[in-house]
Structure formats: C-alpha cells, structure tokens
Symmetry: C2
Subunit: 468 residues, 2 copies
C-alpha cells in the first residue's frame, strides 16, 4: 500500500488542474470587446428583421422544394447584404416528398371528423381511402410487443402523451411513436398508423415530423392526430364499442433532388483556416413558415456574425455560419457536410447550433476537454448577467452539430427555455408571432459572446472523445 505516494500524485494532479483553470485563454481586451458586442446585441432589432424577412418573403421551405430553393437564394442575398466576406453554397442530395391531403373521420360508433396530418414521407391510402378498426397502444413499445394478429388489418393508434419541460426532455420518451411506429405497424400488417401528436399543446394542430422509412417493406399511411382529437378517440374507445376510422390520404414521393447548405464567413485575420462553425437549419416543415424551427436560429447566427463583422478588425480566426439543408428529414445537410469536409475537421475549433426555438437562453452547456473549461468559465463572466447559468459538459451542440461532435469536434450549447417549444413544433402554428423580439436580443447577446471569444482566443479547444 503506497498511500503517501498516491496522495502525493493526487495532489499533483489537483495542482495541475488548478493551474490549467488559472491559465486564462482570454485576455481582458477580448472580454471587453465581447462585452461591447453583447450590449450592442441587446439594442439591435436586426435578428428579428431577419426572421421576419425569412418568414414573410420565403415562408415554408421543405427540403428540395420550390420554397427551399427560394430560401437558399434569400440566405445568400441576406448574408451578402449583412457584410459577410464570403458567401457560397454546397449542394446536397435530398429525398423529396409532397404532402397532399389527409382526411380522417370516425365512421362508427360516433361519426365525426378528426384533425390529422401525414407524418413526413408517409405513403397515401389506396384510392378511395380505407376504413378499419382502431387498436390502441400506450406507446410504441407496446405496439412492438403486440402479437401481429392483434394489429393485422387495423389502424394502430399510439396514444402516448408528451410531458412539458423547460429542457424539452419530454420529447425523447414520446417521439418513438413517430419515428418507429410506422415500421412496427407495417411489420405487423396494420392498415395504417395513427399517433397522438408529439407535442405539449392542447390545440387542434397535428404535429408532423420525420419517421424511419428506410428498408420498410410495405409502408403504411402514418398520421398524427391533434391532442384534442387523440382525446376524442380515447374517449370513444373507453365506451367499449369498436371504433371505425376512415382515412383518405394522398402524398407524393418524388425523385431525389438538390438542396444546399448555405455558408457565409467572416474571415479570420490571423488563422483564416481555423474556424468556428455556428449554425442553424434553413429548411422547415411544409405546413408553417418555420419561425421557431428554425427561422429564429437562422436569424440568431446571422446576426451574431454581422455584429462581429462590424468590428474594426476581423477576429483572429474564421467564423463560419452554416445554414444546413434538410435537417428535418434526418440531418441530411450536416451529414453530407461532415462527409465532404472530413479532412478539414481538425481545423474546426468548435460547433454550435441554434435549433430550439426562440426562448430565453438560461443555461450554457459545453462539450470540451476538461483542460479547456477555463474558457467557458471566462465566457460565463459575460453570460451570467444575461441570466444564464453554467450547465453541464454533455452538450450535443444542437442536432446538426451532433454530427461533428461524434467526430471529436468540441461544442457549445446555449440552452433556450423550451417550455412552449413543443406547443408549436412541426405544426402550422409555428409562425412569426411566436418570436419575442426582446428575447431574441438576449439570444444574440449570448451567441455573440460565445462566438467572438472562441474565434478570438489564444490557443484552441482540443478534441473530445468520439462516440466510437
């Protein structure tokens, strides 16, 4: 037993850690500039103007659509107008799909219409529709476990409620019905899948969203019911008689086509090849103007870059804004970006994405090597007055960023209050009026602090452990 030696070693490690923490990567001057930027952000209404412009002048922009094409043109023009040094696009290939109509109605025992929407890339019903009995499941796991004879020929109804939380943590446990339900239903010979919308509202909007479709043989129509309609079906089922529902759904699967990641840069003055990527996704679902998802994110990162571009000199390194294409249908733009730039990943200092609406930022998470925590602590000096607390080191950096994180790229996460995000998420109701201009300023203030200090600091952020 060599306890004294062990203790000595422990003490040494502790001392080294303290020393690392005390090595401050940011100078007082850096912090002063960041403070000025932060306070300018709190005065500027430009981020709101950007999301207003995108929602009014473009509107819905699902991947590969005409709206997407216009969004790509809009983004390039806007970046040029905002003073980016370099603006360009990178083409990606996306599966395309057109939503048609989706009509549903109970035909027995209590005939009345239901509000539904097709899940993304759902097939339609046979011409003339289909009518079948409802069989209810508490969640997707219950459907997966059910014997096929219980489901065959019926409409499987997954009636799982999502819990509201500031962190949005109710989403994970609820989203399986949407992502995996259709596959399970198809495998068991169901006529169709109906799910209670993955959302926290009680409004008559059905929430669409992507599902896993690859390799599903004989896919069946998959639809979400609004919460009040799911309640209605539940109440009918409780009365004990078979409930028959008629579905009439038409959608159109198109050939793969082009979309684009739109990229704009504020070029670094000293190490232009070293970049921080801040991002948001440019595509939206087709039923709304995508103000929260992800127009607000687009505005936040574009305005962050604009504020930095207004400084008398360029930052030390490059700030790259990436507006990802086709996020909604499976992070397609981010995956193709990482694939195309695999050899340059070591030059990416860090990534971060704004894609959780427009709520107040309340927490600052990171994904950094422990030795680099000091920079986050220094950032906190300027973030704390915005009402932001230090969070954990488990940030994914946001959906698209997570593809980089999986490759060892460090990430920052400015966590928004998502209490009402899933009231609007993937519904027609995701519109500009849900964006509060004051709160958007707070968002940009935090983003500009984090972004400027990252591209201006001495040293780098190292690498983080990869997933595999």
């Amino acid at each position: 037993m060599f306890r004294p030696l062990l203790t000595l070693t422990g003490g040494l490690i502790a001392a080294l850690a303290v020393s690392a923490a005390q090595a401050k990567p940011l100078t007082q001057e850096d912090l002063s500039v960041a403070e000025v930027l932060r306070d300018r952000a709190l005065e500027s209404s430009d981020a709101y103007s950007i999301v207003e412009s995108l929602t009014v002048e473009v509107g819905p922009r699902p991947a590969g659509s005409e709206g997407d094409r216009r969004a790509v043109a809009w983004a390039q023009e806007k970046m040029k107008a905002l003073g980016f040094d370099r603006v360009y696009t990178e083409q990606i290939e996306v599966p395309r799909w057109n939503r048609g109509h989706a009509h549903a109605r109970v035909v027995a025992p209590f005939p009345q219409p239901l509000v539904v929407t097709s899940l993304g890339y759902s097939v339609g019903t046979p011409e003339g529709g289909l009518t079948a009995e409802i069989v209810e499941f508490a969640d997707v796991e219950a459907l997966i476990k059910a014997p096929a004879r219980k489901v065959k020929g019926k409409i499987a109804f997954i009636n799982k409620r999502m819990e509201r939380a500031r962190t949005g943590e109710g989403y994970g446990p609820a989203v399986g019905g949407r992502s995996k339900g259709m596959r399970a239903a198809a495998e068991k010979g169901a006529a169709a899948l109906l799910i209670r919308s993955v959302g926290t509202d009680s409004d008559r909007f059905a929430h669409t969203g992507m599902m896993s479709i690859n390799g599903v043989e004989g896919p069946v129509p998959a639809l979400a019911l609004s919460a009040p309609d799911a309640n209605l079906l539940e109440a009918m089922l409780k009365r004990g008689k078979p409930v028959q529902v008629q579905l009439d759904v038409h959608n159109q699967h198109l050939e793969d086509g082009p979309s684009f990641n739109v990229i704009g840069e504020i070029t670094g003055r000293e190490k232009p090849e070293e970049v921080m990527i801040i991002g948001a996704h440019l595509d939206s679902w087709d039923e709304s103007t995508g103000a929260l998802d992800d127009g607000a994110g687009v505005a936040i990162v574009m305005e962050t870059a604009r504020l930095i571009a207004e400084l008398p000199q360029r930052p030390r390194r490059t700030l790259r804004v990436v507006l990802y294409g086709a996020e909604e249908i499976g992070l397609v733009g981010a995956k193709q970006y990482v694939e195309a730039h695999r050899s340059e990943l070591d030059n990416i200092l860090a990534v971060s994405e704004s894609d959780f609406g427009a709520g107040k930022i309340w927490r600052f998470d990171t994904r950094l090597p422990e030795s680099k925590f000091a920079i986050a602590d220094q950032m906190m000096q300027l973030l704390a007055p915005l009402g932001i607390e230090r969070g954990n080191n488990k940030s994914s950096g946001g959906p698209d960023s997570s593809v980089f994180v999986a490759q060892g790229v460090p990430a920052f996460g400015l966590y928004q209050d998502g209490s009402d995000y899933f009231d609007y998420h993937h519904t027609p109701n995701d519109t500009l009026d849900k964006v509060d201009p004051k709160i958007l300023q707070q968002n940009v203030a935090a983003w500009v602090v984090m972004s400027f200090l990252t591209v201006e600091m001495e040293g780098d952020l190292g690498r983080i452990p990869t997933d595999n």
Copy 2:
C-alpha cells in the same frame, strides 16, 4: 318653484323604493334550499359529463345537418335520462349550407399558402378559382366609404384587430367586417372578401361565423384569415408591391330543411303554466365539437334542471330548458320559438341563456323592473360566496334570450369571464379540453341558485319596457 314639494315627492319615492327593497320575495326556507342546491352543484361532475357526452358522441352539429339531427336525438334522450318531466321538440325551418374546401395562397410577390376558412354561407369561387390583387381596409367602415373603382375586381381585405376583454366587449367593434363586409364588397364589385379573423388568439385558426346575406345581389366568396396569416398579408403589403392572392373555394347551398328546438321541463307544483326559460343553443359551427359554443351552456342548464328535479318536491312553477336550434346562423330557433309562443309570453317569468363559453361567472346582471331588484339582492346572498358581484340591469339574457327581452320578458345574466373565449370562438379549436370541470361546477352552482329561486319565489318579475 315648488322645491319643498319636489323634495317631499322625491323623499316619498325613495321611501317606497326602500319599502320595495325590504319586501323580500324569497323566504328563508327558499334560500336554504337554494344553498343546498348550490353546494351540491359544487360537488357534482355531471355537467362535465354532459358536455363530454355531447362532444364525443355527437361532435359538430351545424343547423340542419346530420350532426344536428343526432344532437337533437341525443338531447331528448339525455333529458329523459336526467329525470325531466316532459321532453319534446318543436320543429323549425333553417337554411342549410355545406362547407367545402377553402384554399388560399399568395402568388406574388412572395408565394406561400394562407390559412383561411369560409364565413358561414359564403359562395364558392368560379371553377378553377380566382386570382386578384389585395386591397386593404382598416375596418368595414373604410370599405363602405371606399369608391367602387378602388375595390372593383380586387380582393377586399379588412384588417381589423379585436381587443381582448373579460366582458368580450372587443367583439362588437370587430365583428362588422364579418357581418357586413361581404355585402359591401359585393356592392363595389370586389372579387372576394378576406377578413382578419374576429378573434383574440394568435393561432393559425381562422374564425368562421355568420354574415348578412339576405338580399345581397351577386354575393362574392367571403373568407377569414387566421391572425398569423393576416399578419403575413399585412407584412407583405407594407413592402409596397402589389400582392396577388389566389382563392379556390367550394361550398354548397342546400334547400331549407328542418331543425328543432329541444325542450325539457321540470313541471311546477302550483303554477305549472308559469315558466322560467333557461337556455343554451344546441347547434354549433361545423369545424369543431362546439364544447365552449355552446356545449358548456347545454351542460350547465341541463344540470341545473337535474339538480332541481332531484329535490323532494317540484318547485312552485315550471322550469323549462330550451336548447335552441340554429342560433349560430341568426337566432333562428329563438325567433321561431317566440313567434310560435307569442300568446304565452306573459307566462314567461324570465329568461336566461348560457352562451359565452365555460369561464368563471363573475357578475350577475339583470333586466328587471326596478321594483323587482329585491329578488336579485336576495340571490346575491348566495352568489357572492361564489365570487360573483352584482352587475347592471342591462342584461340581454344571452343571444337567444334577447329575442324574448325585446318582447318585455325579464332576464337574468350570469356573466362568465370571457377573457379567452374569443381565442377559440368559431374555430376548430373549440374542443372539450378548453372546459375546466371545476369552473363548470361554479357555473352550475350560480345557475341553480338563480333558477330555483325564480321558479320558487312568491309573486312574479313583472314586465320590462320593450324595444319599441
């Protein structure tokens, strides 16, 4: 100048008024029974069960439709099950209309879809739709004043916002665009009418509702935009370029057909021919299950009668529950009721209707001769503990009741908190989840006090001045 005499006369009148106020029409026993009823109402969940049953088992029930027919059957069955002494219907004749589709989209300068709904009894567009430029008006008065050349061939857009208020008083100033806009647009040769929805929400629901159509020559399609879509159009117009909108609307006008007032009575033990009418309307708009408008009202008055029917003896006079047909399309059921029962109006002690949703009752209004205020004061002893204050003597008694009031029938008005009523009013979002079971109990508690004491009191309530 005979001041002393005038003063004396004034004094005499005051003395008489005090004396009238002191003559208490309700005995302590009456009040005790009413208190028991009130407290039972606060414990019972039966009203909620009634509105649940109506919304789940019937759902939408626009006048003259298949749903209406089922609602009429439902109401009779329910009244019988609840122990009413007499249940019957009275046929009325109603204009009928089927909503088809209503698609709208901006085609230039910023193509994107708009969420709209046809106003009640709107015509459709020509086959293939129509495309025209938008011309904006602040309110219906501005449209009425506009020269025809400014409107001809265009889509008139009335962009009037409704103010939120507990009393719902923002409705009156805003509703003109809906009720009178189409007539004005048609007269000026407009291609169509678009209005900002008459509502207080900022959700992507358009609010339907009735408009004045009688005698309009060459009616044009009339649609409401959801608030976010009205904002969108407004933002596009602000950019200064002509805004072109395409409309594709299909609706169907049918021949007049039958509907019914459904009537249930708790027969009076002493003066069965003298009645108080408490009412609600059975019809709803076609896009929702009509939980607030007026399923809650139906439940409140039915449960009020049920509680009174449970007493060991019948009240002195008859309590008549009238579920009016076709209220939404112009108080059709109430007007035909009054017409058919004109000779019996003197036997109607008082009327009251619940048709303002399911908010907490906060004010007790009346429409009584001054000499009868004492009964309201006595009722207040039992209403005040429910959080209800004494209001004014200008109550209409509710929309359908107003037809009786115009003929001199006294009325009571238990005023609900309507702060959010117009968030849901005439939208698909008027569903059961908007009804709070606890608050519904408070409503019934107030209604049972008012209703029981009216049918049990000594004396009557006299007549009020008629409109003409």
